[in-house]
């Protein structure tokens, strides 16, 4: 099974993801205009986009452990997946700005005053340099620093899942499961670092 996926994925070009990525958005919009998102399509669209973005980010984080522990090699899709996630998170933010809050003064007040929005915005801001440097030219120019910069992925996903936990009312399971998955995927990395490099890097970063 793993070998089969590996051999199929070797033949699929990563740019296919960019072709597929807008399709769910078109589907959501179609649903929204035809009643398929319920009577409050703004909120539904906002949530669907945010959740999809977070799911893809978790997949991005899972690529390394999947390779190490399951022999599943999806590394060549990682950059494209990261960009697709950024695309969804950006749309999620746009829906919030344009369709949901609508009032510019309220937007800034919300970002400053409401912890879950502050944290969500911070996660988005951290993703901007990652998205901007997700091209071959940047990888070449930045050299070693590119890897260092892209370490920002970790706090970005962590803040993203924290954003989800903080925005729900009451003690809800779903966002906690996302946070748990994020922590687990990050912990798998810490373990390797601290074992492999005598804890210096992992310790400093942990």
């Amino acid at each position: 099974m793993v070998n089969w996926i590996n051999s199929v994925s070797r033949r699929l070009p990563p740019w296919l993801l960019y072709m597929v990525a807008p399709l769910p958005v078109a589907w959501f919009l179609y649903l929204g205009f035809t009643g398929g998102l319920g009577v409050e399509p703004i909120r539904a669209l906002e949530h669907k986009l945010g959740e999809l973005g977070l799911q893809i980010l978790l997949l991005v984080l899972a690529i390394t452990p999947l390779r190490r522990y399951a022999g599943l090699n999806l590394l060549r899709f990682r950059r494209a997946l990261g960009l697709v996630a950024f695309f969804y998170i950006t749309l999620h933010l746009l829906v919030w700005l344009v369709l949901d809050v609508q009032i510019p003064a309220q937007i800034w007040a919300d970002i400053v005053k409401r912890p879950y929005i502050t944290i969500g915005m911070l996660a988005f801001v951290l993703m901007i340099p990652l998205a901007l440097t997700s091209n071959n030219l940047s990888v070449r120019r930045l050299g070693k620093r590119w890897r260092k910069l892209h370490w920002l992925t970790y706090p970005a996903v962590l803040l993203g899942s924290l954003h989800f936990v903080l925005l729900t009312k009451g003690f809800q399971m779903e966002p906690l499961l996302y946070l748990g998955a994020t922590v687990l995927l990050l912990a798998l990395r810490l373990k390797k670092r601290s074992l492999g490099r005598l804890g210096t890097v992992g310790g400093a970063r942990g």
């Binding site: 669209l45 009032i103 879950y116």
Partner: protein
């Protein structure tokens, strides 16, 4: 009989007569129909256009059936609402278990078109059918020491799949001060649009307190208790910093998660415009006096 709330929140009562006649004339013309459609559900103009049955019954918070807005409609069908008994106890003259049909046989059910404002900053207009809570309290005979009314929602895990998770401390409880409870606006709803109230909206009997955030309007009531001290309320227990006992709709008192200055009416699709939130959800004249001398930013 408690003194009755006179206004029947219909278009012509809310709007001044001239404005109302004018509006009717406009609507009479073909162009007027198109205009009215474009204007949407304008509450600011002083008219209350109820949301559709579909909107009111498919976008609900009823965490006993799940935390998603669509969950209650999908899963509340499992709830048995007949027979239904309401326990009335505490500081009352005639405590006991009251069969709902016995209660209903003594009550005057009327239509009340009320604004409904959720703390999540969305709103609807709902044509409830129900009777005044004051009438039920009169039936049970409130004793002089009573100061508060506590309510409890049904807790029946085998029919309420959401209660498998500790989202809140089940059963759901709520409360009102006695003067709020006997205010003529305070309704016990049994229907919407003249039909039986659907399970997802709190069948067979739910509270409606239109000047407070929606979560105060406790659903599927099985117990009403008169007490002399402030009863616990579910959301206050879960997060006292965010949910006070009073929970009056107040555009000036911000909630940590949602600005309360504006709200989005449900039913406007992708392009629904926000509108300013009214003090006490538009019922300031009727209820502001209840809170004279209170600092509503502290007693929120």
């Amino acid at each position: 009989m408690a003194f009755r709330w006179k206004g029947d929140l219909k278009d012509h009562h809310v709007t001044d007569e001239a404005h109302w006649l004018n509006r009717r004339q406009i609507i009479g013309g073909a162009a007027g129909i198109a205009l009215a459609g474009l204007a949407g559900r304008s509450q600011a103009a002083g008219t209350l256009e109820p949301n559709s049955w579909e909107e009111i019954t498919s976008y609900n918070n009823y965490y006993e059936f799940g935390t998603g807005k669509e969950d209650p409609k999908a899963y509340a069908g499992a709830l048995t609402t007949k027979p239904w008994t309401v326990t009335i106890d505490g500081l009352v003259d005639s405590p006991g278990d009251y069969a709902l049909e016995d209660i209903l046989s003594k009550m005057t059910v009327e239509e009340r078109i009320y604004r409904f404002r959720c703390v999540e900053a969305w709103s609807m207009v709902v044509p409830w059918n129900g009777f005044e809570l004051a009438d039920l309290l009169e039936l049970a005979g409130v004793q002089s020491g009573a100061k508060y009314v506590a309510f409890e929602t049904l807790y029946r895990p085998e029919e309420m799949r959401g209660t498998a998770y500790p989202v809140l401390d089940w059963p759901y409880v709520e409360g009102l001060r006695l003067d709020e409870a006997v205010n003529p606006l305070t309704l016990l709803a049994t229907g919407i649009y003249g039909k039986d109230i659907p399970n997802q909206n709190g069948a067979p009997l739910r509270l409606v307190v239109p000047w407070k955030y929606g979560f105060k309007s406790i659903k599927s009531i099985v117990r009403v208790t008169l007490t002399d001290s402030e009863p616990p309320t579910s959301w206050n227990k879960a997060n006292p910093r965010e949910y006070g006992f009073y929970s009056n709709v107040n555009p000036q008192v911000d909630h940590p998660r949602w600005s309360q200055a504006t709200e989005r009416p449900i039913g406007g699709g992708f392009f629904a415009k926000r509108q300013p939130t009214l003090m006490f959800n538009g019922y300031e004249q009727e209820v502001a006096a209840l809170y004279d001398g209170m600092d509503l930013s502290k007693s929120f």
